[in-house]
């Protein structure tokens, strides 16, 4: 085992251990410990460890590290390009959510549950083992369900979540069992494996909120706590699972992936179109998130690395931008309650800084030049249209509807006669710090995307088990 491997595994383990310890401290000490301080320390360690994982992967020349036998397919511990990409991204998102969260949302048990959810997500990112993936799928679903159910008025939404995601979990378990029962499971050659592949695809569809199983996704935003909605959807565990279990067939794209891609494209356009007619700000964010995350899955099912590079770029760019929009809405709600966008709310005079941040994050989610999403959209549109014209048309329609929805939402929330006769609600320093920090990442990567896109290219080639132009063939053990 090389030094890079050792470092990567220790750091990956830390990303799981730190939030578990934080959750333990909060469970024991309760409110005395200061939930934001404890969780902030835990997530700060997670972010640092995630950066170390990325550095180790980069330092080792983009090779994949695995630990444990390929017991029933896949290694227990896997650190590869996908891990190195997603860990820092998700750590930033989780830290931003924690720092911007209104004080009242930081009840110790709620924060402990959030940290358990974070630990589950990072554990998932560090494995490619099907059995472990299934266990972690169940754990993350239960974590979200529990957070929604315990929130005030969240039970009906938790029921919707339980029905759809519970079904997805069952399909996932059965599908994975069939996949591993028909080795070599990665290729799903036999009938059992093929059925397993389809069941896993169906589970991914449900967990991802693809049409026609999408209704729980925006409902989670409108009827559940925003922290739970963001932490459950922004990491996109279903996309991750699809990559680990379904993508990368040496013999091309399976029919289940083509089906998933088309459903994802329809969902992206449909979600963006529905976002245009939403009546409250949370519905807008939920539908935009549903649309953007579907776009990621559409690119993941690619045969060309460029499409996958585009999908990974959308994964990160839309995740950061939608986290920003969601947090601005949350911060606004903490001052004046739920925000309708049925009529003009006139909140600009009350919260001018939040208006600016909402607009900037909105533009950053729309492919605006100078932001990471411009790069991501360029890659995904070029890639998708290179392969299929209908895909390109749907992607272009998605960007059109999403643009109208975001600007409509902005004008409806902040435009109109002033309706709040109260002192101006100034933005807090920690809130400004979070928003400026997220924007700095989005704009920094948008203005200087070269190294980031090159890293994504390495990840994409590794996922598709294809050699890059400047490399030789990928060794058999490179892909878990």
């Amino acid at each position: 085992m090389t030094a890079f491997e050792n470092v990567a595994f220790i750091a990956a383990g830390t990303t799981v251990a730190a939030p578990l310890v934080g959750a333990g401290v909060l469970a024991v000490a309760g409110g005395r410990a200061g939930p934001r301080r404890v969780a902030g320390a835990a997530l700060g360690i997670v972010l640092a460890a995630a950066a170390v994982v990325a550095g180790a992967w980069y330092g080792a020349g983009g090779a994949a590290f695995t630990l444990g036998d390929r017991l029933i397919g896949g290694s227990f511990l896997t650190v590869d390009g996908l891990t190195a990409l997603l860990m820092p991204f998700i750590a930033v998102v989780d830290l931003a959510i924690l720092l911007a969260a209104p004080r009242r949302a930081l009840e110790p048990r709620a924060v402990a549950r959030m940290l358990l959810g974070v630990a589950t997500t990072f554990a998932m990112l560090a494995t490619a083992h099907p059995a472990l993936l299934v266990v972690l799928w169940v754990a993350s679903a239960v974590s979200t369900w529990s957070a929604v159910r315990r929130s005030l008025g969240g039970r009906p939404t938790a029921r919707v979540y339980a029905i759809v995601v519970g079904t997805a979990v069952i399909l996932m378990i059965v599908g994975t069992v069939l996949l591993v029962a028909d080795p070599p499971w990665e290729r799903a050659h036999g009938t059992l494996g093929a059925v397993g592949g389809w069941l896993v695809a169906l589970a991914v569809m449900m967990r991802k909120g693809l049409v026609p199983f999408h209704s729980w996704y925006p409902a989670l935003y409108t009827g559940g706590p925003l922290a739970a909605a963001l932490t459950a959807t922004i990491p996109q565990v279903a996309s991750y699972t699809a990559i680990r279990l379904l993508v990368g067939h040496a013999d091309g794209v399976g029919p289940e992936l083509v089906f998933l891609a088309n459903a994802a494209l329809v969902t992206a356009a449909y979600g963006a179109a529905l976002a245009v007619v939403q009546r409250d700000a949370r519905g807008l964010v939920g539908h935009l998130a549903m649309s953007q995350s579907a776009m990621v899955l559409a690119g993941i099912t690619a045969t060309e690395p460029m499409e996958l590079v585009g999908a990974l770029a959308v994964w990160v760019s839309s995740g950061l931008a939608l986290t920003g929009i969601g947090l601005v809405v949350w911060v606004l709600e903490s001052r004046a309650g739920r925000i309708s966008i049925d009529t003009l709310q006139g909140r600009f005079a009350d919260a001018p800084s939040l208006a600016v941040f909402f607009l900037l994050f909105g533009l950053a989610s729309l492919g605006f030049p100078g932001t990471l999403s411009f790069v991501a959209d360029d890659l995904i549109i070029s890639g998708a249209l290179g392969a299929q014209t209908h895909a390109g048309v749907l992607v272009i329609l998605t960007t059109m509807f999403a643009g109208i929805a975001v600007i409509r939402g902005w004008f409806r929330i902040f435009g109109g006669p002033v309706t709040i006769d109260a002192p101006r609600h100034a933005i807090l320093p920690r809130e400004r710090f979070v928003f400026v920090g997220l924007l700095a990442i989005i704009v920094g990567l948008g203005l200087w995307p070269g190294p980031f896109v090159r890293s994504l290219d390495v990840v994409a080639h590794s996922v598709l088990a294809m050699p890059r132009a400047e490399e030789g063939p990928v060794p058999p053990g490179a892909k878990p």
């Binding site: 004080r103 409108t222 529905l274 001052r335 600016v356 360029d378 890639g383 059109m400 809130e431």
Partner: protein, 461 residues
Amino acid sequence: MTGVEASLIHDTVAGLVSWQLVAPAATLVLIGLPALLGRPLAERTTTRLVGAGFTTSFLAALATLVVLVRRGFAPEVVHLGTLFEAGHHAATIELVADALSVPYVCFSTGLCALVNAFAGKYLHREPGFTRFFVLLALFGTGMNLMVLAGSIDVLFAGWEFLGISSALLIGFFHERRNAVDAALRAFTTYRVCDVGLLAAGVVMHQAVGSGDFSLLFVGRWPAATCGLPAATALVLALLLVFAALGKSAQVPFTGWLPRAMEGPTPSSAIFYGALSIHAGAYLLLRCGAVLDAAPAAAWLLVVLGAGTAIHGALVGSVQTDLKGMLAYASMTQAGIILAEIGCGLRVVPLVHVVSHAVLRSLQILRSPSAMHDRHELAAALGGPPGPGSWSVLGLLPAALTRRLYRVALDRGLDEPLVMQFVVGPLCRALTAAAAAERRWVAFLGGSAAGMGLPNDDGGTP
């Protein structure tokens, strides 16, 4: 000319072109960043910085023009770098200094500098002072990016800057319902028509493997030709025309322009009297060779341009407010310019754009005081000054005049038709789908599922 001289000239032009872009962009950062961090600059500092940015850009463009004139307008392609590469796709930043782009930058940055000076006084102590100048700097950056673009990708980036800055300035007085509605209408029209430019970019990439104009066109502007197959050229031309129609408020997308006058007068002058309204014309001038290769699209452009000109003249004649009248006058001239481009003219529309922009922006900037002067004159004379103007409509039969008058009062036929047959059904379908979604969620989870009940998110920030 020796190789060393040519290289020296290229480096000089490259430096000057870079300055044309960097100066307004740097201004944007310098005034935008402090505002973002909650420490906006003082009014005078803001106007001076923005003025310095536009003046620098103008002087750099003027110097480039001198170099180009001395070289007989031989175009210089400036490669600013590669943004990123993935597989066979490379996003390069190509700019071009030629007989179209450099005079256009001179005129646009000159106008922006003048409007900046005017707006500094006009918006003194206005609550959104910094916001206005941030958006003006964003507009100037986008305008220069669009005009100097050597590829459709760079042009699209500038085009997007124009769209968002335009919409936000229409909604500048955000507390007014009309301003917000007008801004949203304008942005929606832009976004729909941007689909044309986005798709045109993709078609270009597929056709020639790149978005660079130097690969699409042969020869120098305005005599460049396009070697695309007829069918591809037709598709590309139709997409470009579609994109231009929205930005230049042509039939059937005219409805947003008169409403756009809700914005502050300086932005109305620079956007809808001068620069933004002609963005579509600039796009079609730059890609004129594609229209030459697709006569059907060129004829369509002539028909739509002429139709818009008639529409604008007719509806403008019944406007009761000065800015509305000027908006329709702008629309009329923009229609004539597009028709000229469709007829295959290149230099004439360029001259038309510049002369119209200068005159119209002056009229719009003068409009508030002109009304005041006219009222004073009328009071002094005891009646309206001067006889009413003569109109060709007076020659038409009375019944037809009455019918046209009714149509003009309704702002023409295009907007009601689009609303009735496209926007209305689409909105109704989406609203019905959203309602069905809510019912389905309520069925799954009980009556309150996903309905936005209060939860533990509210409270202390």
